[in-house]
Symmetry: C2
Subunit: 443 residues, 2 copies
Amino acid sequence: MKKSDVLKKAKKAREAALALSALSGDKKDRALRAMARAMRKSKKQIITANAKDVADAGKLVQQGKMNKPLLKRLILNDQKIEEMAQGVEAVARLENPVGKVLDAIEMDENLNLYRVTCPIGVIGSVFESRPDAVPQISSLCLKSGNAVILKGGSEARRSNQVLVKILSDAAASIPGVPQDAIQIIETREDVGEMLKLDEYIDLLVPRGSNEFIRHIQNNTKIPVLGHADGICHEYVDEKADLKMALRVCLDAKVQYPAVCNAMETLLVHEKIAPRFLPPMIEKFRAAGVEVRGCAKTRKIVKDVKPAKEEDWTTEYLDLIVSIRIVNNLQEAVDHINRFGSAHTDGIITASRSAAQKFMDGVDSACVFHNASTRFSDGYRFGLGAEIGISTNKTHARGPVGLDGLVIYKYLLYGNGQTVADYSGAKAKQFTHKPIRKSKTKIL
Amino acid sequence: MKKSDVLKKAKKAREAALALSALSGDKKDRALRAMARAMRKSKKQIITANAKDVADAGKLVQQGKMNKPLLKRLILNDQKIEEMAQGVEAVARLENPVGKVLDAIEMDENLNLYRVTCPIGVIGSVFESRPDAVPQISSLCLKSGNAVILKGGSEARRSNQVLVKILSDAAASIPGVPQDAIQIIETREDVGEMLKLDEYIDLLVPRGSNEFIRHIQNNTKIPVLGHADGICHEYVDEKADLKMALRVCLDAKVQYPAVCNAMETLLVHEKIAPRFLPPMIEKFRAAGVEVRGCAKTRKIVKDVKPAKEEDWTTEYLDLIVSIRIVNNLQEAVDHINRFGSAHTDGIITASRSAAQKFMDGVDSACVFHNASTRFSDGYRFGLGAEIGISTNKTHARGPVGLDGLVIYKYLLYGNGQTVADYSGAKAKQFTHKPIRKSKTKIL
């Protein structure tokens, strides 16, 4: 695609975003249901396009240029399409995140100020391979009134193209929904162009490997929502319930090790380490986990491999765990703030005050007491849907649902007031009274 | 200052931020009151340092290298110092923005999730000239539990240095408040270094000219809170109350033209223009405003200067207004979304439905009905204090108070739950019940 074509798409997306922002929740939900219906109706077309992608990918697997799990995630069949349609319908059932009154204040009589949620504008979504991300991200963006420009993995090129065509046509079949609400770009070069369009694109939501996310973060001025690493910790305090600690730490490591909220490093208070580590390491090994430990750990369990400095900053995403013994809670907190990725970290302790000290001190998006780090997830948190997990320090943090795809605007309703009335010697005074929530229907 | 010194300060600021984040509201308020007392006690020292800055600036004015208003804003005297102290005390009286429970949900029995406000971390504040920004920004950052690195104008170098020394010593006199909570850097080169430290600095809050802000925005990966331009509009609808429109538009232009929320362009519906524009332009001229108009405007009032295309994108910050006649409301909305700066825009109309169409359609931080754009301000909005006005589409928008200096973290309290319990054939179900606000005291 030519440079100018990406720019054209971005300009159209901005136009579409302005139209989407004024759309009622009902219209958006009708568009979403139309999208689900269209996917079911066009099953054959989707599967035909997907088969070509899969065939090409199959050759890559044979040539050793692609791994099998990636190929498997690429395949769309009847069941997968039905799941995608149901996912879009589930988004339709969520509460409309736009138009919520966050604050309402009477500045003076007949001068009422409302802070109201509204869409962000244009979202850029860059993701790897899996074509099921197309309906998922498109539906979340539409529900929140944002236009979206998608770029998927090149392996799924034909599948993604067909899906975007089906989804955007279906959405636009509802009067008022613009055709350009959901668009797609194709090549790596297109992404490079998109990253420059901070004038038109308001937020990037990338999904993929750490390296991929970091590349995006380092090459754009557009705000990026997401996280690169997920280096999560559990800290077993001196006052931990040992049985609970064994169960939770095993879950945090082995329940699904390939994901960002799995534990990578286990920190243990030195007082409890001699009792806790032998059974813990036995459990890890029984589950096929490779254990790497600090010098103190290796004094307690002799045949543990040594952990190097770089282990503390490595996201294994695999059945590997590093273990470090700390002198006290503060040392655990310091280790996490220094080496962690500010994603999710937990403490196991029976002491409420120790828990609170840990939760105040750890500067991470999610801090857990007596629970597995694996709970860090939008669905488990009850957000209904998740656009991603953010380790940013602004806008949205932790698992991000529809709320992370909206911002707010201030709406002020007056009857001809001027600032001159509130200035100088005879200045009128502001009342600044909160308006009761029950009265927050604006007009 | 050497490169490595800015880095050292940033590292110290991060340490300080971790300590500040766990500080109680009471301690922070005690530190703020100590800061106010210290400024009063050290008046002489402040005035002595300031006198040297003022003397140097006086020479620059004589040489024509600095304008007089800038010199005037530089001067600190007894009254100014008292005002600064009172400003810090006013911040102490505001509600603690940290530790507020935003959401609380029971994920399951004894598995309770809280979304709680917390500080962002390290704020970088770069501003021009005025030394009174030092106590103001420092107090807002401390109140919100953030460490701050300040860089003021070189003209105020000595004043700023003394103020930072007094404020940080006073704050650190309260046990638990770190010495490095408030730091200062000196040179333009230091700022260049600071802009690179996205690993340590979480948010930049620049204040100054459009050019200055744009320079910051274009040269850092750190999120920037603020706005470059303030190109604000009033649109006089066909159904406007003419007397109200005259009064509000005059206020929006002349009450204080040098600020970002003053009106720069006036849009007028063609049906009302023949009746509205002659008296409006007469009023503008009586107030010393230069009027520039589109071709249609100049047919109605003959001796108006022609407005050029570039007038629609110019922030005059002066007694100049550009006027454009539009065919309808949508054309006004389109003009604002195309040429405006998404800061503050208003409609004057007696029609509620026209107002709502305008407020839905205009993609600006603040959209007003029958009120002067000049109301767009943190104090007038009742935020208590203002760190700046943001035209960003993420994090914070419009006038930003203490709420814009905090983010949130998720705190999960369990009793040993694992994700394995909620997976597979015998999976436990999440309850996802909201926890009543009255029960949101966590521990």
